[in-house]
Amino acid sequence: MKLGEMVGMAAADAWAARARSLVSVVGIALGVGVLVVIVALGLGVRGAVLDEVVQRMPLDTIEVVPKSVNLGLIKLGGGSLLGGRVIDDGTVTSLGAIADVVAVYPKLEVKLPLGARGGESLLGKSLYADLFVNGLPEELVRTEVGVAFADNTDYLPVVISSQLLELYNSSVASTLGTPQLTPQTLIGIEFDVWVGRSLILGQQGARTTGRERARVVGVSRHAVKLGASLPMATARRLLAKYGEGGAATYGSVILKARSAADVPAITRAVRDQGLDVDQTAQQAADLMSGATGIASLVGLLVLVLAALNIAHSFVAMLAERRRELGILRAVGASRGDLLGVVLLQASFLGAAGGVFGVLAGWIVCAIADASAAVLLPDFPFKPKSFFALPWWLALAALLAAVLAACLGAAWPAIRTARLRVTDALAD
């Protein structure tokens, strides 16, 4: 039997049993819809967490940190505290020597007791707070901030963490009623940095005290989370001027690999050196994927029910058509022909259910997003969309729908194809 004939016959059969077909299609669409919404939610939230909260790095980039005890998303202690290795200039050099590492971006720890005073222009009153500072390679931040992130004798150019800004806007600002901040409103703001005047450390760690003028030059995802980051040259200048002259240490080092494929080997080499690779993003991703996987089981369950419904419907339909199918066999249809026609009919129903299911799921996602935007209060890292429906998810859902329909129809189809011609005609 030619494929075209088979398709035509299967379509005609589906149409002839349209009431039954409709029920099957709705069942499949329901399962697919639930599956799509759940997976899209999982993907969406995962993406939001990784991009906004954890700020995952490009695939060809890893962040080397001192060994630490890692409890899921929470880290306990670092480096010297646990007797692990501290990252110093020697370490940075040996990290740079690892094969296929094309760039090394160390983050210099500025171990000085610092306090910051300022903010009246923005917040209405002046605040004083301890300040944690580190130094970043200029080229690491250049894509975000531009040439303004370079050492400067007039002021300390600082960048603020983009995550800190988001946290401030979504919780502090709305709670305290202070205005929302954008990178644009922040740039150019100046404040005083007091060296040797920390509320906690006092003058401990500083050779001498002093005051510096700082100016915000931008916002960066690489900036230290609670504090301010300086260009490397500025940080070194500050340490030379006020520090007690100890060896430079680095909180972490970002390594850029030649390609993402080189990352596993580099990670191994890093571990061999007694250091660790920051896997917060990976762990968060795994956690979210696991949760999505479990939730998807619900969608799969609905799909299984839809397949059972198809099986039930096909058993009844094929029993009704027993004699007719016997006639087809008598005039030349082989078992394979009947099997093909019946399975094709099921896959049409599956495909239709899949298309409607994906569409319905997409609409539900859009409605949920629209309602969330209006109904949910602002919270940190609230994403614009909670859902991600990539093309491959739609395609996979469609395939799952066709597969479920075919699996459901398989047993009735095989049973029908096995029927003896004279038995079927005897009805």
């Binding site: 039997m1 030619k2 004939e5 016959m9 002839a16 004699r323 007719e324 016997g326 006639i327 087809l328 066999r329 008598a330 005039v331 030349g332 249809a333 082989s334 078992r335 394979g336 022909d337 003896r420 011609v421 004279t422 005609l425």
Partner: protein, 219 residues
């Protein structure tokens, strides 16, 4: 040239605890261009024998050769191909697809055997069985005799080598039956082997040979 041969066909069915022998050692031969009548009382096994010869029923012992091909041991695909192309079968119960039109029913075999059937070929065979103008009717809109003629047309449309007819004129008046007889003559004239199970004396008498079946045995 022998187009259809059977030797020592035995078919048994389970009848409660014991086995009933419906066909009991039937052997026959049919040559090209030959019309043979198969007669016998009701229940003697005529339909059963035709089903075996037409590759519709594989549950028997013995040997059948259809158009030179032994049926035993053929794959389902090959048997189906044979049914759809080399044998025409006219069922006692017509066996038309009720939701298909006359023309669609007649074209049905061509949908499975991969041949391209010209609409003219369907129209021609419809004319030959005297159903012109009824091509778009469905079986329930036809009389019994008309349905029988659709079944005949479907059996002939693929120009098979062997035609097996089970009571092809049972519902036809003398005049229409006569027309069908003329059609059969044309078929045998073209070299088709024709085996007709019938109670119709007119067919039996005009056939070259008559096979008498009784209790599953030929006499």
């Amino acid at each position: 040239m022998t187009l259809l041969s059977a030797s020592n066909i035995v078919k048994e069915v389970r009848d409660g605890e014991r086995k009933a022998r419906i066909l009991d050692g039937v052997s026959l031969e049919l040559a090209a261009g030959e019309r043979v009548a198969l007669v016998g009382p009701s229940g003697s096994g005529k339909s059963t024998l035709l089903h075996v010869l037409g590759a519709l029923d594989g549950d028997y012992t013995g040997e059948v050769r259809l158009a030179g091909t032994p049926l035993e041991g053929l794959s389902d695909r090959a048997r189906s191909r044979l049914r759809g192309r080399d044998v025409g079968f006219v069922f006692q119960a017509y066996n038309l697809v009720s939701r298909a039109t006359v023309a669609e029913n007649i074209a049905l075999p061509s949908r499975f055997n991969g041949t391209q059937l010209a609409p003219e070929a369907v129209r021609e065979v419809i004319e030959r069985v005297g159903l012109s103008g009824k091509a778009d009717r469905r079986p329930h809109q036809l009389s019994g005799g008309e349905r029988q003629r659709v079944a005949i047309a479907r059996a002939l449309v693929q120009k098979p080598k062997v035609v097996l007819c089970d009571e092809p004129t049972g519902n036809l008046d003398a005049e229409t039956g006569g027309k069908i007889l003329q059609l059969f003559d044309a078929l045998t004239g073209a070299g088709v082997a024709l085996l007709i199970a019938t109670h119709d004396r007119a067919i039996a008498d005009s056939s070259r040979r008559e096979l008498k079946l009784k209790d599953g045995k030929l006499s």
